[in-house]
């Protein structure tokens, strides 16, 4: 009887110790683990979706090989000053203009463009379902385009200048107009500001920034916004392709090699 009397409170104390000291902390831990489990399940689903997206987008690129080639030519992967000088020279000559000068400035990073690109990508630090990127995945840094300015100054009639500007507008090479002017020769104008030359020779100065984008290696597809998208924006390339015309033939190197380069 006495033992029984001792056992009762002992069991009560044991139960309380188990509940407070073990079951409650384990229950809290379990809740956290279940949360982690749900996150992992979601992560697996997202990773799976991204892996499928990589394949899908790659296949779409395979099926749009011509568009991919067009983009590679329109927006090159490296500095191509030779091609641009050749194109400007070709178009000016084809338009009947006399080239006075061509100037190429050094390449610069288009920092402002990077900001815009990031703006278009809603949240590079999140997975497709909006959950945060795993800590092991480095955030995606969009590559920054570089550009160099090319200035061409040429002389010709108004009609020829118009033709040249039209052709430059349809050049199959990404560029943005930085400056252009069409007018009477400055020397003539300074000599007599009121002597306009309505039918005479005009001077055109056309400066444009020619962009190129050096490809970069991606650390993980999880952080790249495009893999959240169902498809690539091929329509942008199509619209561009329709707006331009391939009126500049490829630069022909001709004969290469000279026994005495200083001769």
């Amino acid at each position: 009887m006495k033992i029984k009397v001792l056992v009762v409170p002992s069991l009560a104390v044991l139960s309380l110790v188990l509940i407070i000291g073990f079951i409650k902390p384990d229950y809290d831990t379990l809740q956290e683990q279940r949360k982690i489990l749900e996150e992992k399940k979601m992560e697996v689903a997202n990773v799976d979706a991204v892996v499928k997206s990589v394949d899908t987008l790659n296949n779409s690129l395979d099926s749009q090989k011509e568009t991919e080639d067009f983009v590679a030519r329109y927006f090159p992967k490296m500095l191509d000053q030779g091609r641009v000088i050749d194109a400007v020279n070709f178009l000016a000559s084809q338009s009947g203009l006399l080239i006075i000068g061509v100037d190429v400035n050094e390449s610069v990073k288009e920092m402002e463009d990077k900001d815009i690109v990031l703006e278009t990508a809603p949240s590079p630090l999140a997975l497709p379902n909006g959950s945060p990127l795993p800590a092991s995945v480095a955030p995606y840094a969009a590559p920054v385009a570089r550009s160099y300015a090319t200035t061409v100054t040429a002389q010709g009639s108004y009609e020829n200048i118009k033709t040249f500007l039209e052709k430059m507008n349809r050049l199959d090479r990404i560029h943005s107009v930085a400056l252009f002017s069409v007018g009477v020769n400055d020397k003539v104008l300074q000599a007599s500001p009121v002597e306009a030359a309505p039918s005479g020779e005009l001077i055109v100065t056309f400066e444009a920034n020619f962009k190129y984008l050096i490809p970069q290696m991606v650390g993980s597809a999880l952080s790249v916004p495009v893999f959240k998208e169902p498809a690539l924006k091929f329509d942008v390339a199509k619209v561009t392709e329709e707006a331009i015309s391939g009126n500049v033939p490829d630069l022909n190197l001709g004969e290469v090699g000279k026994a005495n380069p200083f001769q």
Binding site: K162, A196, P198
Partner: protein, 175 residues
Amino acid sequence: MAGINLSQSNETRKVSGKALVDTGLIVLVVFTTLVVLVWGGLRVYMYTVNKEIASLQASIDGYGAQLKGDKVDRVADMSERLAYMEKNNGEAINVPDLMRQLERLTIPEISITKYEYDNAEKLLHISGTTTNFRFVAQQLTSFREESPLENIQIEKLGNIDKGKISFILKTTLDK
């Protein structure tokens, strides 16, 4: 009165006290057993959940190779190029259109001497000559009828020299 057993109530109290201890003991044994079972169940469940987490993490790690490489670089590169192209298309200044507009809006009495656009400043300057201040006013009005020249204004207006007046107009192009 002599036949009454007075010790019976003490016996009953002893019996009911013993029964109470027995019942309490049974209840507590059952309760403690349940508590131990619940704890054991929790530990087993925790183990299962941990195992599942480890298995899922292994799956995620297994995807590593598929999340980088040529395929990923190719798609990401194309996407960036298309984004730049889209932005460039949206911001592009159509120089031939500006020329056509100039032709359309210039009045016959005006001779344009220079048409200059600076994209960094978004500033457009149109210089010209004419023979009468009235024509300058007419030209200004004509330009203002169409976008993006609706805010064009006089920057400089020269005096009559050799029967001609030179002028410079300016405006900003937002696009």
